[in-house]
Symmetry: D3
């Protein structure tokens, strides 16, 4: 598998096209991200991943923008350039302002810092946090 090979709509099998069509319809867009075009070499994973994403990222107890912010937080923590770029874009289309992005980054940075302080000092979990 080449790192650059992407399966375009015109070249896709019916199975892949069905997923692409659902992405386009669900997201009300005419654009398929490179991520899906790369996954399309493995139709089973393409379908499973898209259906999971669709189920998870839709509205629920958390709104779609909050979910995008959480997605970015994970992607930044993992140093995943593709996911940072694509989900920052998604979050923008869902209303993320500059101020929100700045606060998100500040929280992500601080959490990564205190995660290490608590590990490094081997802080024991407070009893009251054990049952919640």
């Amino acid at each position: 598998m080449a790192s650059q090979r992407l399966i375009e709509y015109a070249d896709a099998s019916p199975e892949v096209r069905a997923v692409y069509d659902d992405i386009l319809a669900t997201r009300k867009t005419d654009y398929i991200n490179n991520f899906w075009k790369a996954l399309a070499h493995d139709p089973a994973t393409l379908k499973r991943t898209w259906e999971s994403i669709k189920q998870i990222m839709g509205p629920g107890a958390l709104d779609p923008l909050t979910k995008e912010l959480i997605y970015i937080a994970v992607s930044v923590t993992n140093q995943c350039p593709y996911c940072i770029a694509s989900h920052t874009h998604s979050a923008r289309t869902k209303g993320m302002t500059d101020e929100m992005l700045h606060e998100l980054m500040a929280v992500v940075g601080m959490a990564n810092e205190t995660n290490r302080l608590s590990a490094g000092y081997r802080v024991e979990i407070d009893e009251r946090f054990e049952s919640q």
Copy 2:
């Protein structure tokens, strides 16, 4: 530094007490987490960390609960048991419901999965995500 040594309020220096007092007042609580009691061996870091947290986690473009959810997302990604326990507790006190926790975990899990799929397949960043 022992992994268990915690500095209680009664044993704290005036410098440390001043931070403890601010934590108690800001959070409207009578409880100091073990994290702060462990950091108290290094008053400079205790003070700097608390003041950063206080500045970052307060209300802004993102509400305090959303910030807690982001904090949990980072802590889970980093496999930090202390931070998962303490921020799950914090989020509960700020109104996180079971449904919100479930959706948070689903997004965090999925993001960790697709972070690896995009890395493993070496997906190139879409041009349209480069300038945003």
Copy 3:
């Protein structure tokens, strides 16, 4: 140390050449990866790393291809672009098919997801998994 400086065979010291020669002979190739050419600035680490790799990656209870798949799994989890590219290449030369790559990625993605679900929900280890 420049990020681009690589020590070519023609410019290598006898100590470095001895390692290069062993890599070429062991791998039955006429190509030295950039990784080794970069490590060559530190002959002690070059030699130690190569000898460890040679000992570890050879046939044993696990076959060399399975070891490459495991190497890729780690590299993808760590978001290491160089290692993903070089070990995907190695795995290809050892017989990895597209189907195997797809299944590898699916497992790696899923493992990264459930690692976080188990951490986030703070699942206790089953007693029966404690002694094995």
Copy 4:
């Protein structure tokens, strides 16, 4: 959500029981791991995760034991105690010997080391690894 609350079969909703039944039947076992009992608080994630695992971990181009080894490699890299314990157990039931475990650990350790050497020295990807 308590870190200890697990939903036992007897207390499970029909929706959760259906998943438990499929786990028991698919794995030909009479035991449900704590992981599933913790996820059961969120039936949608329980079902989605189980169905994904079932699809991914079954036989294919890679045999089920190889997939368990890959799962362990990821879990060790992520320092996930629960997943290390549970998938080491699974791999044992699928035939992993001591020798295989030892070789797996040696590869995982070495991959984590060279991932950092290549990052620290900022090794550029060899041209021949770009298209594969």
Copy 5:
């Protein structure tokens, strides 16, 4: 926020300029890193981060070069290309020799390896390491 937008001194607000001026004076340089120019979109984080860095990285019980080595160790472990490049540069200006860089990388590599061996084999912490 574009990934490329950097706020140059000439375009900076008085608030941002005050931080830039302090960086230039403290570091006795006429160069502001891209990192600060990117953070400048969020003056609160720019100021807080700079003041924390200034407090932490100055001389103390550990000398500034040792602190840079530690900074690189973290950045390499996290696979952060920007931080590896910028802190390798910083360490060079503070006297890091090639030999020091090589030993640093060897330690970082080995630590990443044994971190996984101890996790994978689930080694229990020695009693004597519990109180220190």
Copy 6:
């Protein structure tokens, strides 16, 4: 392999004893860490890992205490409880003071924070950092 099984000196094979003896002599101690006793199930990895550690952690351009600090920095970043405990202990025996530990933790925390800020804002590497 049980997570608790440790091979004591009295029960060790001659091959394992030879490594234990070298650890005891090199470290001028009468204590073998659990880490080595767990690795002893795989004599090849025990020997290779010990010889690598011995070569890497000895005095060189960096002194042994500095190397221990770097080891802790990596272990804290990776959230590895065993390695944090054992290398904090080692560093103590090599002269690490409370002040040094505090400064170490402060640097590790801050590096983990700025690693994410630079990733999240997708900061481009400064040209002057490219060749060093």
